[in-house]
């Protein structure tokens, strides 16, 4: 950079004439392309560098003008050094892609690593630091056995107070959904039953049945997504009869470990118009946090969305361990920035972090897709289902607000550092109307998708990102 002269100080950025977001000094940011490797139990023939390279090649293939020299730098994400056992693995990705000596930063934010990487790239462009930024993420979880992998993941819980009890995230999520079921089924649908044990058993059975609907949805959607790791046709009974992992969470309600990579390329408005006639604009970004330990979560008031009133939740202690305050906070920030007041009506689809079918239902409420306490009814009515797929049970409201049309983490897999970017790529293809081009069939294309949300979630809800993506072109 040349030293700044007096005259350039007066007009520092005129040459660039950046388009700015209303009411903000930030430049408008667009996604122009993306790529994903197929997520798999193991990709022994590709290390993390080559996986990222494959996703990167796919992304660049579609845009002839977007050559490597146009990329100003990168944000590279992976979750666990334990899985990789290669520190500074992000530097090796930068190196392998031939992007040296450009700027790069490694991003790690637990399960929300990919979502945070996407927002870090957003910030690099919005701030004017870069015009074109690569967001790349990966994880190679096949390097250890599944139960050792669970141990690595559980090291993302407090190692003084939480990990030594069992070191098991499924156990933590089971505790959360048990309380969610208690708050929202035991105390409503089963309030008339006086025997406490019996009432709780029945409420949990009902909650499990409804969680199974989510599992069936996501696995069945994935039948039409060639990138998905576990596409399958299931029945509710098959889900419920799968192996018990941590009561009441059975195997088919839980995502698995994966190898995989994903990339998204973000740029400013001028370059977006140059690179593609179907850019997708990022109109909102939000993040939220909460205590690392579940045991420390407060019992307070719900941070309200514009469509909610304090009186809606007069008797609710929030978040406790039943809801994700970080997800609510991230949603509020992202919606406000994007000018969304009623996400139920103003979003066309959501790709959210369903590491567990339980957390998908909890997240419906956090993101305001329905009110707190309505997650089970929202699922049963079919609102988050696709209208053109025949599920093995009635879904009267299908198509109202499809959630995880791609199949989500439960069916696509969850290579942590790639997952949030995978959601960005699937959302991007939805908004471009190009699902058929990339999936080889148009089943999962949400009709007239103008605006979608992606949601990436860490720990027991200790960190969450929400990003809003919108069509940046006129069809």
């Amino acid at each position: 950079m040349p030293a700044r002269s007096k005259s350039s100080k007066k007009m520092p950025r005129v040459a660039r004439a950046p388009a700015r977001t209303r009411g903000s000094s930030a430049r408008r940011v667009y996604m122009v392309t993306g790529g994903v490797t197929k997520f798999a139990k193991a990709h022994p023939a590709m290390d993390f560098r080559l996986m990222v390279r494959r996703a990167y090649d796919y992304a660049l293939k579609g845009i002839p003008n977007l050559t490597r020299d146009r990329i100003d730098g990168s944000r590279i994400s992976y979750f666990s050094d334990h899985f990789t056992r290669q520190l500074k693995a992000s530097s090796m990705v930068q190196d392998y892609l031939g992007l040296n000596p450009k700027g790069s930063v490694r991003i790690e934010w637990g399960g929300a690593t990919g979502g945070e990487c996407f927002q870090a790239a957003y910030e690099a462009v919005a701030s004017g630091r870069m015009d074109v930024c690569l967001a790349a993420g990966f994880e190679t979880m096949s390097r250890v056995e599944t139960w050792k992998g669970n141990e690595f993941i559980a090291l993302a819980s407090d190692t003084n107070f939480d990990f030594p009890l069992g070191g098991f995230y499924t156990g933590y999520y089971a505790l959360m959904v048990q309380r969610h079921i208690y708050e929202y089924l035991r105390r409503t649908k089963f309030a008339h039953i006086t025997d406490e044990r019996e009432a709780q058993r029945l409420a949990t059975a009902e909650g499990s049945r409804i969680m199974a609907l989510v599992s069936v949805k996501n696995h069945q959607n994935a039948l039409y997504n060639p990138y998905a790791q576990y596409p399958k046709q299931l029945t509710v009974d098959q889900v419920l009869q799968s192996e018990m992992i941590s009561y009441p969470l059975v195997r088919e309600l839980i995502c698995t470990m994966s190898d995989g990579a994903a990339v998204a390329i973000l740029c400013d408005e001028r370059r977006a118009r140059e690179f593609t006639d179907r850019p997708v604009r990022i109109t909102g970004v939000g993040t939220g946090t909460d205590t690392m330990r579940l045991a420390d979560r407060p019992f307070g008031k719900v941070p309200l969305l514009p469509t909610e009133k304090a009186s809606d939740y007069a008797n609710l202690d929030y978040p406790g361990i039943h809801s994700f305050r970080a997800g609510r906070a991230a949603g509020i920030e992202a919606y406000r920035m994007a000018g969304i007041t009623d996400p139920r009506r103003e979003l066309d689809f959501v790709e959210l972090h369903d590491a567990y079918a339980s957390s998908e239902i909890q997240t419906y409420e956090d993101l305001g897709l329905c009110r707190y306490g309505e997650g089970y009814a929202f699922t049963e009515r079919g609102d988050p289902f696709l209208s053109n797929i025949q599920y093995p049970f009635p879904t009267p409201n299908a198509g109202t607000l499809p959630v995880n049309p791609s199949g989500g983490l439960i069916a696509c897999g969850h290579p942590v550092g790639a997952t949030g970017l995978m959601q960005a790529v699937f959302a991007f293809w939805q908004l471009q109307g190009r699902i058929a081009k990339h999936f080889g069939n148009k089943t999962l294309q949400v009709p007239n998708a103008h605006r979608g949300a992606i949601h990436s979630h860490a720990g027991t809800g200790s960190a969450v990102t929400v990003s809003i993506l919108e069509r940046g072109y006129r069809p």
């Binding site: 139990k41 193991a42 022994p44 023939a45 056992r85 096949s142 056995e145 139960w147 050792k148 669970n150 141990e151 993941i153 559980a154 190692t159 003084n160 107070f161 939480d162 030594p164 009890l165 069992g166 070191g167 098991f168 499924t170 156990g171 933590y172 089971a174 505790l175 959360m176 048990q178 309380r179 208690y182 035991r186 406490e196 044990r197 709780q200 192996e243 018990m244 992992i245 941590s246 009561y247 009441p248 969470l249 205590t291 330990r293 579940l294 045991a295 420390d296 979560r297 407060p298 019992f299 361990i321």
Partner: protein, 176 residues
């Protein structure tokens, strides 16, 4: 020339061979070979409980310690101790917690991470205490899945041979 490691087309077979000889070749559907080796990785950490020390020393004496905010206008009580108050930021002081409480939530784990697989099935529980604003995460013993419910009265038990871990305390159903 030494013989090459054996070639397998199924990853599961590769894993089995790693258990035997520690080396194998995986051949994928495109005929590409990948050499795969196995190596161990273990560490002894030197871990300080630092500002949480009092809690773990108290467990060895058969006592549960929480912490309480020192600011008069706050006084938030933490069942899992925190050195500083998350509500107002002031330092906290140590307090005694009652050795009994109620279940706020629970689960039975039929699997766990590798280090805990041999202990399955085990129960995890969140316990709420009279007068405390937050919870304590513990193991729940001496009961089976069908007996446990949210709201169940429970009481603490302590390991007479402390390991200086959170597992030095566990809870059991309060009898009678």
């Amino acid at each position: 020339m030494t013989t090459r490691p054996p070639v397998f087309s199924k990853f599961r077979e590769v894993q089995e061979e790693l258990g035997r000889s520690g080396r194998a070749i995986y051949r994928d559907a495109n005929g590409i070979d990948s050499l795969i080796i196995r190596y161990p990785y273990s560490i002894n950490y030197i871990h300080s409980y630092a500002e949480d020390t009092e809690f773990f020393l108290a467990l060895a004496d058969g006592k549960l310690k929480g912490s309480k905010c020192t600011r008069k206008s706050c006084r938030t009580v933490y069942a899992t101790p925190r050195g500083h108050c998350m509500a107002c930021g002031a330092p906290t002081e140590w307090i005694d917690l009652p050795p009994r409480g109620r279940l706020h939530s629970w689960t039975t784990c039929h699997y766990g991470s590798e280090a805990f697989l041999k202990e399955t099935p085990y129960n995890l529980a969140m316990v709420e205490f009279e007068g405390a604003d937050s919870l304590l995460f513990v193991r729940l013993k001496d009961c089976v899945e069908s007996e446990i419910y949210i709201g169940m009265p429970v009481e603490a038990r302590f390991d007479p041979e402390p390991k200086y871990s959170i597992t030095d305390v566990w809870f059991v159903p309060k009898r009678g």
